[in-house]
Symmetry: C2
Subunit: 271 residues, 2 copies
Amino acid sequence: MPEAWTRGGKPAADLSPPPGESPIVVLVRPQLAENIGAVARAMANGGLFHLRLVAPRDGWPQDRAWRTASGADPILEAAQLFPDTASAVADCQRVFATCPRPRHIVVPLRTARAAAEDLRAINARGLRAAVLFGPERAGLENDDVACADTLVRYPLNPAHMSLNLGQAVMILAYEWWTAAEPTPPRQLQTHETQVATKGQLEGFLGRLVAELDASGFLDNQPKRPGMVRNLRHWFERGEVTEQELRTLHGVVTELSRGRMRRGRPDPGDEI
Amino acid sequence: MPEAWTRGGKPAADLSPPPGESPIVVLVRPQLAENIGAVARAMANGGLFHLRLVAPRDGWPQDRAWRTASGADPILEAAQLFPDTASAVADCQRVFATCPRPRHIVVPLRTARAAAEDLRAINARGLRAAVLFGPERAGLENDDVACADTLVRYPLNPAHMSLNLGQAVMILAYEWWTAAEPTPPRQLQTHETQVATKGQLEGFLGRLVAELDASGFLDNQPKRPGMVRNLRHWFERGEVTEQELRTLHGVVTELSRGRMRRGRPDPGDEI
């Protein structure tokens, strides 16, 4: 139904099913179409595509879903409708259920992070997995949970566990994406320039200290070594870039020129 | 303003500021009051409390925020209002900015997970940290980002990066909580019972094999060792509990009684 992709008035994002298998998000008896749209948006954020709806309260499709999907329309267009949870997962080898409340069943439990890692592994074996999310107020019923082989519990503040449906899917989608994400957790963004070498920094520090010696700033001989070390530590700390080092050279040049001007007063100098 | 805590019609959750410092969420020029409420709810989910608002478009307070906060009213009641970003972070030692788009500045970058770990460490040192979130459509401006010492980038699907404001705060709050969460990532929930010992399982398997021998199921002598091993593997795999083992003993008793009845036909037997 490509003609419906513009229903929400926004251009549909360039979303297509990921190659190979990827986990299916199953919304069990969702109540608000706005939340179904928010779920599609969260799925798009995390690189999930397959959405199944079990008996949505207000029927399907609903324009309100497209309005909150923020361009994740292809996910909504491809969503499949099922009468009950068992039929929605009948073709899946593995079924996870998100379930905030403990239940008196014997079942493997996973945090969202471990569930995402497991889903990546299941996916890599070519198995089809689904993740169940319950209705907004009530959550999954026992018969829904009985379709699952694994429960997913999000570690969150026990004083305020109630998650919006879109948020619940967002966390899983985020963990799904992150489980395969090669982004280094910590880096310095430097764009065109790069972090200066210690030799380049040394060249600058030598010049700076020479200028400070010339200015008399380091005249206190007993304190001089400590003062120089403190200066060094500050400049060493921040991973200064080559570009910043050029700027700092310019600053030293400019400031020492002012000092030299002041040292030899010029008739035209405003000081 | 405790009298306002019931504004949303829901009982206010039992939320109070966490002891010691915890990161401040700063919403810069937020547009929709509903999103401010969703942010408060997400903060409550992740154990954050301190909310600052920089020049919200429609003024503050707004009843619509309380309607989407789902009981996180204390966070909204305690929210502080500031005219600009610089004044909102003036008392903070560290400022992180969430920023999906690359900018041509030299700045430390963190994933959401690494940022949460850093925030825990900063917090443990007793320093006050803030995290900036930009307006819904435009994101943070350069002058806002200039107030930050670190950028946070969420690893997400580059084909669909646009995050709802509540979702953006949810991921950070979730990572904040998770960074201090001792929940084991994988466990078997067993409630009152516990996983059976290998000796208990052995007792059951011995009985099962004896009954299968008696029934003739294992009469094929060349295949017998392999069949027994396959059965063993299946029972070993699932971490059977003591309670389940009692049930399985009952099943074997019941089925072998049926076999014995069939072996010695009874006048009252329906077969």
